[in-house]
């Protein structure tokens, strides 16, 4: 009874927020409704007894994908009002195509025959008795298919290596943070002072000490070297 009530509660919010994702005018609101959607879907997974999927949905979709969406929406300056301009004009055609697809879907579903034991299978948990479904998924992924899992890992590693090889350029002028140098710095050389809010460094007369003269760059040196001995090669 409580499970059924909870199901209808979460399902209703899920559908309502899904509708809001599509209809809301502000794209940022759309993404926020999408996040609400994901949370409700994960609650539905919990009711169905799939706690691992529920947590993964929150971690992956809310934690990563939705934030990425939000980031993209805020970064890109898309004029959504203009995108919607043709809505009125194309609505009848869209509705007609959608209606045909819906009819076809109904016809497919109309001929669907359920297996005799489908109902009993649906009620029974799919994991062997006494094992939580997290453990069952882990067993499949890390024990039964460890070979394929590791091979996929190697594929991803090669993809990463390839992206670095093809795009990383070592520019001679880049300044890099060297933690060791920072830690080893003599604290007496650094003066700490309280600075009023909004006051620039110039107004209170603090200047950064001039950096020591840079050692000759390696790249230039190598070029000189090649030029000097070019004749010998």
């Amino acid at each position: 009874m409580i499970a059924a009530l909870a199901f209808y509660f979460f399902a209703a919010i899920l559908i309502a927020s899904a509708v809001m994702v599509v209809t809301s005018r502000n794209p940022v609101h759309s993404v926020l409704f999408l996040i609400l959607c994901f949370f409700n879907a994960s609650a539905l997974f919990l009711i169905a007894g799939a706690e691992f999927l529920a947590m993964i949905l929150v971690i992956v979709y809310v934690g990563a994908v939705a934030v990425l969406f939000l980031f993209v929406v805020m970064m890109l300056d898309i004029d959504f009002a203009r995108l919607r301009e043709g809505f009125q004009r194309y609505a009848p055609v869209g509705a007609a195509v959608g209606g045909v697809l819906f009819l076809e879907l109904l016809m497919v579903l109309g001929t669907w025959r359920f297996a005799d034991d489908a109902a009993s299978l649906r009620i029974n948990p799919t994991t062997p008795g006494g094992i939580s479904n997290t453990a069952a998924i882990g067993r499949i992924l890390y024990t039964d298919y460890i070979y394929l899992f590791q091979a996929s890992g190697a594929v991803l590693l090669v993809a990463m290596l390839g992206a670095i090889v093809l795009t990383l350029r070592d520019r001679p002028g880049t300044k890099r943070q060297s933690v060791a140098v920072q830690v080893a710095r003599d604290p007496k050389l650094v003066e700490t002072r309280a600075v009023a809010l909004g006051a620039g460094l110039d107004t209170i007369g603090i200047r950064r000490p001039l950096p020591p003269p840079e050692p000759p760059k390696k790249v230039e040196h190598a070029a000189d070297h090649a030029a000097d001995h070019g004749g010998h090669h």
Binding site: Y145, Y147, A151, A154, V158, L166
Partner: protein, 472 residues
């Protein structure tokens, strides 16, 4: 689980991880030590492969037998040869980066997973591991427009081929109910109507035919072979092609042996097309890398002839042909990599002019490889063709045999033209001195090609054992 059977793969994979860390931490250029380490890892893997037991592991996803041993040794040899070719070249072209040997190592790991696959899923993962590393290697000279184009073209078309293969695999899974090769074999044997499996199989063959550049899935080959850095092209023509052909043989003769009448037609067509295209399209080429691309398409056609026949003799011919092709190809590409005048790499057939006088040793080796590829006795290439044609005649595939002989006569024209250019044309000046690594590859593969007819027994015996393991 029986994971000790996977020792060669585990050793290779762990060495790859160590090589990445060891290559990136020191501030100086670590290409050479990493390359030596990778060569050492390949040698260790080869020793482990020789001592490897037989059987299946990892819940039937991995298989090891005499056939995979034969295939893995060839793959390791081709990869090591490709790495040696690239060492000096990369330094001269300013591509000296430690990632290159690591990529070759992971491509090799992918090929070993591929030939040992006993499940459609491990087949696909091995194929992707290999292909992804190859795409990056094709574009390795990233500031050169042709190399970047080669990489992109190979990547887009390769992804399409992978899609075809996956679609076929999903159909096979849907109609046979399993992805495991042994159980697919049972399912194919027991059921009468296998139409769905056959359709899936045709898609899988199309995906694999792309990887080995068999007609009509060869379109990418000339452009990619021309654009990629020369040692990478040599590697492409050697190791991945060997792995792809052997995997195709393993898949068709293993789980789908009962469907032979269906897939034989496809392989016969691919074989005929590849032989004819390889013979005719290479005639007009002036760029030697493009010429070798068409030549490799032709060789794939001859090798597929052995598979199309499908008998024990045919499979033995296929294995022998691939082994000999690997040596000839590595040697020929060692010459191509050594073509350099005034520090500039050369790619034209005409640039070989007068090599017979300026560098008699290299010219002699190149002549041996060209005669061998044309199939002139008593060089190794003749025996490769002989066994394949013999199997075709014995199996009653007269069309294949006749077209094969005619195609090899046509292709002899452009192989002999290279020899004519080397010995009878006016020299355009001496080539730069070639590095020691290339000389080693040249001498090794040249001696193998020239003296194969004296000692064919070890390779024949290995091929025989591999066929016995495959055909059961």
């Amino acid at each position: 689980m029986n994971w000790t059977l996977l020792l060669p793969e585990i050793v290779l994979g762990v060495s790859g991880l160590i090589a990445i860390v060891a290559g990136v931490i020191p501030k100086r250029d670590t290409t050479f030590p990493v390359a030596l380490g990778v060569l050492g890892a390949m040698l260790l893997a080869a020793v482990l492969v020789i001592g490897q037991g037989e059987g299946t592991a990892m819940g039937g996803q991995y298989a090891a037998d005499a056939f995979t041993r034969f295939a893995k040794l060839l793959v390791l040899l081709g990869a090591a040869g490709g790495l040696v070719l690239s060492l000096d070249w990369n330094e001269k072209e300013g591509l000296s980066r430690f990632e290159f040997p690591v990529l070759i190592l992971f491509a090799t790991l992918g090929m070993m997973v591929l030939v040992s696959a006993n499940d459609l899923m491990s087949l696909y993962l091995g194929l992707e591991l290999m292909s992804l590393a190859l795409y990056v290697m094709a574009a390795f000279n990233r500031d050169d427009g042709r190399s970047a184009e080669a990489g992109l073209k190979y990547f887009v078309l390769g992804a399409l081929a992978s899609g075809l293969l996956l679609y076929g695999a999903s159909l096979i899974y849907g109609f046979s109910g399993t992805t495991n090769f042994d159980r697919i074999a049972d399912a194919v044997d027991s059921s009468a109507g296998n139409l769905g499996v056959v359709v899936g199989l045709v898609f899988v063959i199309a995906g694999l035919a792309f990887k080995i550049s068999a007609v009509p899935f060869h379109m990418w080959t000339p452009d990619v072979y021309e654009g990629a850095p020369t040692p990478v092209t040599g590697f492409f023509a050697a190791a991945p092609k060997v792995a792809g052909l052997l995997l195709l043989a393993r898949v068709l003769q293993g789980p789908f042996a009962a469907l032979a009448p269906a897939w034989q037609q496809v392989i016969v067509l691919a074989s005929l097309g590849s032989m004819l295209l390889g013979a005719f399209a290479a005639i007009g080429q002036t760029n030697i890398k493009r010429l070798m691309a068409y030549s490799s398409i032709g060789h794939v056609g001859y090798a597929l002839m052995g598979l199309a026949v499908g008998s024990d003799a045919g499979m033995r011919g296929l294995l022998l042909y691939i082994a000999i092709y690997l040596f000839m190809n590595l040697g020929a590409f060692a010459v191509l990599v050594a073509m350099r005048r005034g520090g500039r790499a050369l790619e034209g057939v005409d640039d070989l002019a007068g090599l017979g006088r300026t560098d008699p040793g290299m010219a002699l080796a190149m002549a041996v490889f060209m005669f061998s590829m044309a199939g002139i006795p008593p060089l190794a290439g003749f025996f490769g063709k002989l066994y394949v044609f013999l199997a075709a005649v014995q199996g009653g595939y007269w069309t294949l045999a006749v077209v094969g002989v005619l195609a090899s006569v046509v292709s002899a024209y452009y192989y002999l033209r290279i020899i004519k250019v080397m010995y009878f044309d006016d020299s355009a000046g001496a080539m730069d001195p070639r590095p020691a690594g290339l000389s080693v590859v040249l001498a090794g593969s040249g001696l193998f090609t020239a003296l194969f007819f004296l000692f064919p027994a070890p390779i024949l015996a290995a091929a025989q054992a591999a066929v016995a393991a495959l055909m059961g």
